[in-house]
Symmetry: C3
Subunit: 477 residues, 3 copies
């Protein structure tokens, strides 16, 4: 019976131990320190500072992004009244899996030299970005999936995500500094597609918040909002990084004010709605992501943020219920409103801004920003430019409008890959071997956790020494 | 009726949308990237690091300050049992307004070249400092003001604040690296003046804490305490920044220990009082602010911190009740004890330290620290010094004691401008058009928020299916 | 009677005021800014950046470690249902004492020039490390000690800790970049020894968690997990720092996945156990600490992390109850499982890795990493090496295996000093003058805090207007 019980309830254990062992073996075979982190190859054996080492440059923003993934996403999802343990802890587990798996998948595309993947602090930062993708998808299906299903989803999703990222950045050569298309659009529509296939009939009174759970969720919201400039600027440099910070800051500020106003406009008695405040105030960070390091100007960023805040609140108020009822797609955290639509806006804004980029406005930095716009190697244009820019890499000689076209193409390709990948992954998750959440356990920590007894509503209604059911039912949190 | 309802309860909506639109237009007309963030004017188109760009220097401390404003102030104010949503979320809204408005007001004084305001990361950092001013004032009137009133207060306050800041830093040429006078004294007395005019008769059992709300508030306290060195050192450089970090660190440590001891000394049964721990442990950060980058020495910083902790606890214990009862000035968070008096101490300590500053102790850095002490242009003294200091800017030839005098004058000018500005702003906020909080809604999220039913004390006492009022009243949080 | 009451309940007040005053005097006599923070000795009076000043290098990681001490440890310990105030606030008090005292104790060993201790940002970082030691010991005795006992413990422990640290780093010349031996092993076994001597008969229903307290604790867990790379890399430089970040990141990720799996394996119904998730997911950070900057390779770090996660969960599940019952050693937070055993693993892993270190693999950096392995001054080997490494310091000419031996010796010396120091300190804490926690107040904030009435279980069961005890007992949190 113990074995039977194990096979029923313990299936995630061999899976988790198995992938962890697989990660260790794959790291042993394929992963090595890059020379910046390798003692034997270090530039300067006498180094007493980080001079010439990129750790100092990337580390502060890396840590901000790291906080966004684990505190930001983790606590944002604690708003559910009986799902706080799972929100913050399963988020933790899934992200820890992804950090390792994404290092392998992205490393294979970025730094694999035929023998080894070479890792630096940017590998870690990229792995954190990748984990955002999965955590966004997690938001669509939180409460209706088991940890095992989520772990399997993470493994499938990252493999597809890394391929799409490679396609966008290295083959189509598009610019998406804040990863609004490659992470947010991808993660949101992948998650919605999974949710669509899982097609759980969800109507649970547990899918609500309490006073305390809403405040816990605000910890997530605020940290995400604060550190979003680091997310959008983390992989940029010099003036581009400086600009990405400024644009994201003002986009988010404008988005916050607008989201509050629109929330009051469309809510009952013109009160604010916590769901909007927790989520839609962040839409400006997503929507400016692709164009964050472009010359969109502060007022442009603020317009984008305001539109995103508006669209996001209206989505929560009017669109989500319809999508749920009519299309049967449940979206627990409303990722369509926070990541899906704002990500689409980001892609469009990025394409327009790219299509308007001139050398007059950008100076020679144009060819760093949009590498494909640099002239083809060997052409007279290349030689002329090379005279001004020492480290110029040859490009594809794209025009501004061509670059805009590639940007928009990438948006729709990402959408298509995310949706089809999500549908397939959803089908995999329905395999009986991965189990499913019993209807009584939807949005309920009881499924996976020992919940303190005196504290849990189902148990605390009737104290143990009082045998007869009391007519007085107390909902306490 | 819908229109009537809108005019009654929805007045903040057009105001919020209106100022956001105004910000966008003003940014479009006046605001531009500084050359450090402008692609076309960037120093080095090949930059692959942040060399020569100040973003790397300022960003980590900027983010710490950013966390202080939104997590620190936001959660510090969640201590009220039924006002957690408003504390953290309205703090969020008001700060997001201020970030944009302060960029304009401060930019007008700092970087306006007749045509454009030029923004960099320091503009963002300054805007965050400015938001502290409003959030301090917010602390004096939290629970007794509507979001609309607070937004109007923010707009008025920042305009006056930026003028006073300009007066202090650029006309009177004083040193206030941690902005203890320009931000803390200003914000506290401005808020108290507003509260004095609003003169709400406040005696609500809702003005108390619960076990959980007190722990939420500690999140705010601790983050403020941790990142205060970044607040005091964020705009400094080199050895001055290094010194500001050290002084603030030890001032805060000494303040914490002292505040605990004095709290136990004056509280019932010699227990610790959460109000003191949440607030007075921070007074050392305020009190060392003005002198943080001066040669006050670690033990000097610790003395200042210990005094501030003591004064602050005594203020909460003995002064606040008197001010409330006798003068009718309600001070919800006790900002007078955390920002007002410690800010006054800071101003005095700063003046004394400045009056004792000699070239012998400070070396040539003296003229960077106190720019007005540099000799007048063209004088023989200037020429002699210029021989040693290449980038010397001409000053006003002030003596040490003159500098001390200017410092103290600025303290009292700030006090006068804050109080008169606050009184006028208070009168504006009493205009019927801005509404007011109904007596029943003081310190109650119900005014602005849909609060989860089962969770709210007023509603949960009697479950919906139990019609008769129960004699058993449960206060649950 | 007031005096009698003061002598009974207020003994901590003169102690706290006394040590604070002593710290100020000792700082006045002995502590001075190092030249990097001294205006008169600053390298460049014209500095407008931090060039040539180490504040920029160390500050971001310092702040991460600072957050770990006060938010990380503070909130990790809020899991107890009625001890949240004490967990976060007494943690705050004790750490604030230690920051000052450790500056003196460590400064005496590190930078004392016979007249003055010279402090920089690394002094602050080291003081934060030292506070970790005490906070770990605090974890063993939380709930069974008074604030006065803890303050006394902190003072004794830091004096012993600083001596042991000096012995390890400067006399035995070992490498322990993440301080797993010098901080974690020391703190854990010191605390357990204290707990052993205090020998409180603890069996309280208050020693449990509630739903909300568990989520508060996760704030601590996640911040500790996120910033652990800064803890292990904070004092390293260049490629060694880069490597320490990478190793710690992957060790923690692997540890997290493994801890979840093993937790489900050994828990009832194969659910996850919050105690394991809150604590054992962090064991990887401890276990990689000593070898974090060595060439252990990412897969090696992941193996270490996985083993630590496994050992830690098994410790909580099987060892702690036995140690408690058989040996009578109570360990409230299970520091033996989070810091003790993983710290032992760290010491062993560090010794093995050090014993395998060759110049072939490490290049000339070998002699920076293990300074004792550099040749003796004046030897031909030294001269040959000096030819390649300009700033080479003479060492002790140790072989790899000798270095490994010294590493392992330090582990056991640390263990011996910690245990004996803890036993003596425990005896001191039992002196009647320091008081003790009454049996009714174990794990109860009531001892030291005014707890909101309506909120406290003991009071809220029976509303004040209801005289007769109700048969319906509600446990609410």
């Amino acid at each position: 019976m113990s074995l039977k019980h194990f096979l029923m309830h313990g299936r995630h254990i061999p899976f988790l131990l198995g992938i962890q062992m697989a990660f260790i073996i794959l790291f042993g075979v394929f992963v090595e320190y890059d020379k910046e982190a390798d003692s034997g190859k270090a530039i300067n054996a006498n180094a007493t500072t980080n001079e010439g080492n990129t750790i100092g440059h990337y580390y502060p923003m890396f840590q901000d992004v790291h906080v966004m993934m684990f505190i930001g996403f983790g606590f944002l999802m604690t708003f559910l009244k009986k799902y706080g343990y799972s929100a913050v802890a399963v988020n933790f587990l899934i992200a820890a899996i992804v950090l390792q798996w994404a290092t392998l998948c992205q490393g294979f595309y970025h730094t694999f030299d035929g023998r080894r993947i070479h890792i630096t602090i940017t590998s870690l930062l990229n792995a954190d970005f990748a984990s955002a993708t999965v955590l966004i998808s997690f938001g669509a299906v939180i409460g209706v999936t088991t940890p095992l299903q989520l772990a399997v989803m993470a493994v499938c999703e990252i493999a597809i995500f890394a391929s799409n990222e490679h396609l966008g950045l290295e083959i189509l050569r598009i610019s998406d500094v804040g990863a609004s298309m490659l992470v947010h659009v991808f993660g949101a529509y992948f998650g919605l597609a999974v949710s669509c296939v899982l097609r759980r009939d969800v109507s649970s009174e547990k899918e609500g918040a309490t006073y305390n759970s809403d405040i816990f969720a605000m910890i997530g919201t605020i940290f995400l909002w604060l550190f979003w400039p680091s997310f959008n600027a983390g992989l940029a440099e010099g003036d581009a990084q400086h600009r990405a910070v400024i644009n994201t800051y003002y986009s988010l500020a404008a988005c916050c004010v607008t989201a509050f106003a629109i929330s009051a406009l469309v809510s009952k008695e013109h009160k604010f709605d916590m769901v909007h405040i927790q989520n839609s105030t962040l839409a400006g960070g997503v929507a400016i992501g692709t164009a964050a390091d472009m010359m969109i100007h502060p007022f442009g960023a603020m317009i984008v943020g305001s539109i995103a805040g508006t669209v996001s609140v209206l989505g929560y108020r009017y669109l989500t219920p319809v999508v749920n009822r009519r299309l049967g797609i449940h979206d627990t955290c409303g990722v369509h409103n926070l990541h899906g639509m704002p990500g689409m806006i980001a892609g469009i804004v990025g394409a327009i801004t790219a299509a308007a980029a001139t050398q007059e406005e950008y100076g020679y930095s144009l060819y760093r920003q949009f590498s494909a716009r640099a002239p083809l190697a060997g052409t007279p244009e290349f030689k002329a430019l090379h005279h001004h820019i020492e480290h110029l890499e040859p490009g594809l000689g794209r025009s501004a409008s061509m670059q805009g076209g590639y940007q928009i193409a990438t948006l729709f390709i990402t959408l298509a890959i995310a949706i089809s990948g999500g549908l397939v992954t959803g089908l995999i998750l329905r395999l009986p071997i991965f189990g499913k959440v019993h209807q009584d356990h939807l949005f309920d920590d009881e499924m996976c956790w020992e919940v303190p007894e005196a504290d849990h509503p189902q148990l605390e209604q009737i104290p143990s020494h009082n045998a007869s059911p009391s007519p007085m039912v107390l909902h306490q949190f």
